[in-house]
Symmetry: C2
Subunit: 526 residues, 2 copies
């Protein structure tokens, strides 16, 4: 099939959708029957349930037309097959390949890139085994018990969220973590100070993560760590591995115990399933857990090839998001996981979504005439209920919601209180909130009235495990990718972060600041 | 002065403002001169700098008129004096009084409430001293080294954010924490499981925090903790104190080592300076640190009494927020602290702001015809720069920004890298971002073009200390209060959280769920 790239407002379905409408029927649309009919299976046991979204069969049919007109599944297939989908930077987009081959083999300049990513995993697994067995130790002979990832953005948020998501699960399943993990990201020196004060340096292994090998924050933090190790009488080179690209200044350096590679075809925010996430997760949990995480993601990638839009969970999620953004004109989405283990998953999605689709130009660098990616925010339930849900229920604007839930807890430990377990309470809250948001509740006192018509979806699974976490991550990666294809924007570059970098160098070149940051560094003279 | 309560659209200034306008002049407005002229001192060394906000002298004059028309400083004074400002619930609003008396003495039913709050602080200080000296120990004789707060919403987010903000500072200033603190909030049993697995139970003191004594999540987590302590052969009653109201079922119970009290006049999200924050912060840091934190907040409360709107930092911040919400029609605000210690401060502000002002009815419970509180989100810089700033710079919508910065780090430890310290890099990034957002940068390639006109303010201080943290917290509490007064809404109730509680009980009464959460608990039959 030949692919044609069209802006949303150049498609028939997009033109209809962009006429706009209001959320006013949801209250009546939501019935018990819809909870089973407006539900589609994802990978690894996930279900995407959109019964409480403000769509009906007519809207769904329009959205399916849009997906077909925009050929998004075929375009996804071309990404899997190695098309140069990151058009601005002229790069392939290969994060899917880090978890298995779902398309054709991708061979570039004689190198099979699927084999390359698999080889990095094999090297990481071997290294992790040596650390776990104590074959590789710290410079004064102590066994490594702690691992600290030094990285920022995609080298931090995704791996950190995945670590937190499985830390409890591994502790219960394997009795203990192989290594406890910490993260240093911020160039604020207090970040490194605090983390280094909380670990035993002689038994700590550091992972330096920078694809380019030139990330200002990460190099500064590396220096901070090396200086601290040296002051403690330890040999920094014996306490550090690197994850970088083969062409980076950090690659293959004797300053690291080992180096693991990624390449230009793995975007930072899509790198949790590459060596960027692989090193820390394999060291902390064991390579077997990381492999199970990858298999879940791979299963979701294959599921996203489903050509019928209404049977493809990631695509349907993307389409409903476009409906909310461009027909209902709602500029944000709250992600609400009812799972404490997913406490930092919204922060990862915030990067994934806002850095991918917070764009104003199409694939050909022309300004688009419609809204693109929304603001993403969220906190775990039930915590959020006692925080910002007041605004979600009774604020003057409607915020679309994306719930995530699990039938079982990770640790299994629970307590009976007032006749129910905590897990039952957690899920009763989840069910109650979905219905409360959609249907509202009438009261003569407007301050006790709930207007309802607040749309939400639910991603539901039995339990948060390595497989279901991998599939959940890939679901959102693919959702974001599909939305980028629907909007005809490039979800894989990030030109919007460049200006700040350039201006920061200009400020630093001026030397000391003070006062009102030296009148915004004398307004930079730019 | 007699106070009259008017909706925004019933004021002269409000009518003008609600006509709306666009952000299109900021790029040219921002000059070096403005950085000093559009800057106002707050308490404890803070400066609120609004040079990069989309306002000019004409707009400021309109906003000052609005503040005067709405008599907001006089209304604030009446709150300090004990007016029943929480009209829906018929309660006074006395969180300011927890840090000192800035108005008249508040005597209710013969009780001086300022004395009452001070007395709780004295009791907490005495108890903390006994714990620190080892006079009070765990049930098997171990000295307490760890404190775990059990609470949710206002009993969690504020105290947690304040703890994280000063943990590093205290560790450096006092060589070590008095007690290390952890927090259990979520009813998800995995939250308690993970925290309890990470501490030594025999040396851990728990603080149960629930004003009503009936918070579902908190009572479930108390049971979880008590069960775990009992299983470990410890006496739960000897490991737990309560922070609650004197009329709660938890009050004055032998099940707690001690009880500290708040009352109905302290809203959860405003309770960090009451016993809710006081117990955990005094135990972790020492009562002297908590007292310094209170003094900073008290200083900010007094500064907020400044009657000239353009000289009152909290009021001016509030007014510019109303301008952005109601004239520029921007529905969100990002809070961006350039300080890792403030990592959870945005999450606290998210509750503070969205739960206070996410309302659709005025003080008299009539529906308002204008937008109220915005969606609040944020992460620390420079982390956010590598995450969602792409969207802020080049997304299709404009998000107003609120930066927070410090000239010095807390720990003082730093490293020289590429010719500059990490602290210099942090602040160079901050200065560069403000200018980049406001002025943008022209490029022929639209994908490399930055439109600019992204408004931001900066709260700047020398260093994050107990005093400056207290003043920062109070600045935002007072900003939110002033906005509520400008919109003529009640910022102190939260009827929007009630429906979910009622429906949750209905779901739990039905017994077991499963599948799609048992078709949203059979749609509740409500």
């Amino acid at each position: 099939m030949s692919l044609s790239y069209c802006n949303l407002d150049d498609t028939k379905a997009g033109k209809k959708l962009l006429k706009g409408t209001k959320v006013d029927k949801l209250k009546n649309l939501l019935t018990a029957a819809r909870v089973s009919s407006y539900s589609v299976p994802g990978a690894a046991g996930w279900r995407y349930i959109y019964a409480a979204k403000a769509v009906d069969d007519e809207v769904l049919s329009l959205l399916a037309d849009l997906a077909r007109e925009q050929q998004v599944v075929a375009k996804y297939r071309s990404i899997l097959d190695g098309s140069w989908a990151n058009v601005g930077e002229n790069r392939m987009v290969l994060h899917h390949l880090t978890r298995g081959q779902a398309g054709k083999p991708v061979v570039h300049e004689g190198k099979n890139l699927g084999d390359f990513y698999a080889e990095q995993n094999r090297k990481i697994a071997e290294f992790a085994g040596q650390v776990h067995r104590g074959t590789i130790k710290g410079s004064n002979g102590k066994k490594f018990t702690t691992v600290v990832q030094i990285g920022i953005g995609g080298s931090d948020l995704g791996p950190r969220a995945m670590y937190l998501a499985l830390e409890n699960w591994v502790t219960v399943e394997k009795k203990k973590l192989a290594l406890k993990a910490h993260f240093i990201s911020n160039v604020d020196p207090d970040d490194a100070s605090a983390v280094l004060a909380s670990v035993s340096l002689d038994s700590t292994l550091f992972i330096l993560v920078s694809k380019s090998g030139t990330t200002q924050e990460t190099l500064a933090n590396e220096n901070f760590v090396r200086q601290t190790l040296s002051k403690a009488g330890l040999e920094p080179d014996k306490h550090m591995v690197a994850v970088t690209s083969e062409t980076s200044p950090l690659a293959n350096s004797p300053r690291y115990l080992a180096s693991f590679y990624i390449d230009d075809y793995i975007g930072g925010r899509y790198s949790s399933t590459s060596a960027v996430g692989g090193a820390v997760l394999s060291l902390a949990f064991g390579p077997d857990v990381f492999a199970r995480f990858l298999s879940g993601a791979h299963e979701a990638d294959k599921a996203a090839l489903e050509s019928s839009p209404l049977k493809n969970a990631a695509l349907l999620d993307a389409l409903i998001g476009v409906w909310e953004r461009n027909a209902l004109n709602l500029p944000y989405t709250a992600v609400l996981p009812y799972s404490q283990a997913l406490s930092r998953f919204p922060a990862h999605l915030q990067q994934l979504d806002m850095e991918s689709n917070g764009k104003s130009v199409d694939r050909d660098n022309k300004k688009v005439k419609y809204a693109t990616g929304p603001v993403i925010f969220g906190e775990p339930g039930t915590n959020g209920q006692h925080s910002f849900y007041q605004h979600l229920h009774q604020g003057t604007d409607i915020v679309p919601l994306q719930f995530i839930g699990f039938l079982e807890s990770q640790a299994g430990a629970d307590v009976l209180s007032e006749g129910s377990t905590s897990q039952a309470k957690l899920n009763a809250n989840l069910a109650a909130q979905i219905v409360a948001f959609a249907k509202g509740s009438k009261n003569e006192n407007p301050n006790k009235n709930f207007a309802g018509n607040r749309p939400s979806s639910l991603l539901l699974n039995r339990k948060l495990t390595p497989e279901t976490l991998g599939a959940l991550l890939a679901h959102f990666e693919n959702k974001v990718m599909f939305q980028g294809l629907l909007w005809n924007i490039n979800s894989f570059d990030q030109e919007g972060v460049q200006l700040g970098k350039v201006l920061t160098k200009a400020v630093l070149a001026k030397g000391d600041m003070d006062g009102a940051l030296k009148a915004y560094a004398d307004l930079l003279g730019v």
